[in-house]
Symmetry: C2
Subunit: 188 residues, 2 copies
Amino acid sequence: MTTTLGHTLLGLLAARPSTGYDLARQLRRPVGYFWSAGHSQIYPELARLEGDRLVRHTVVAGAGPRETKRYRVTAAGRRALRTWLLATTPEVDDREILLRVYLLFALSPAEAVGVVEAVREHHRRTLGEYLANRSVVDPTTRDWGPDVTSRATLDWGIAFEEGRIQWCDSVIADLRRRSGGMPPGSAT
Amino acid sequence: MTTTLGHTLLGLLAARPSTGYDLARQLRRPVGYFWSAGHSQIYPELARLEGDRLVRHTVVAGAGPRETKRYRVTAAGRRALRTWLLATTPEVDDREILLRVYLLFALSPAEAVGVVEAVREHHRRTLGEYLANRSVVDPTTRDWGPDVTSRATLDWGIAFEEGRIQWCDSVIADLRRRSGGMPPGSAT
DNA sequence: TTCGGCATGTAACGGGTTACATGATTGA
DNA sequence: TCAATCATGTAACCCGTTACATGCCGAA
């Protein structure tokens, strides 16, 4: 049972072998914009992943007072990452969605399309829920109070979900271009 | 030193006196869309707030095996909530921003404008950071890999921040209308 | 009669953040 | 010489989630 952080590290190492220190740096910026972790989490997690044979390390010359360990992902690690990315998970939070999209490079563009389509569907459902809620609270409240501010946050939620759906569409379009495939049923 | 959850409860109780159970229900839906908490957090937090004299409870007849306690916020509690909302906090996460906007009803519309303007400024700065990052990674990558997915998440971040800024503008406009005031310097 | 909602509380667990600890090299 | 970067690790603490515990009432 590997955690989200575990899969994050697997993904970063799949892109390029790194030291724990280096992973910590990537998890501040730019990955840190949507997923972060401190080195105190990373080092123990790397040890755990190595115990599960999902990563391996070699000692290289370095500047620190301890050994410098360069980690790389194993074949089993790549499989674990793929399995996690392909698993349909309906109830993931927004940060994890961004993380998963970032890690999609571990799949083929064709496989990635399916994942993003599931994400899109999730947002479509949430949007429906918000719209239903809005029609309940709607009666153009004139008095200053919780109804007004509640409405403001609901409006944000609606704008957010609409934005996400558009973004999913553009990512899906890009992915289809990259998988070299025409959309199924096209005749050009 | 009252926590975010503490201020959330203060805010909900400022809107209407409630039992802990009722607060837990509100923190699932609709407030739960952006801020959630389980009852196991809420009951101890209510006890702490009462210790600080920010809330008070009265025992009412109820259905449970234990006493049913109806909480209401004290004058000191209202002051604490106002102080927290008015404090300039640059480094708050997105969920907390939504929460703060939801709780703005505890301020006057005129005061609320200032808070939302600070939020807007924060998003403007973050957007600038993202745009700077994007121009670095920009060279229309053709190869499938981390650069493509990283770009996709950056694009989301940009769309998100732009959406937030627009939302802030519309909230500010609404707030100004409600505070009955012309924007400072207007001559009509 | 059994299930779900009301109603409160404690305990255990897991993950994230902060602080402590060590120490060489490089540039201002 | 002083600060920052590289580099790894542990310990304490806080917060949120899940599970345990209790028990009445109304509806199906």
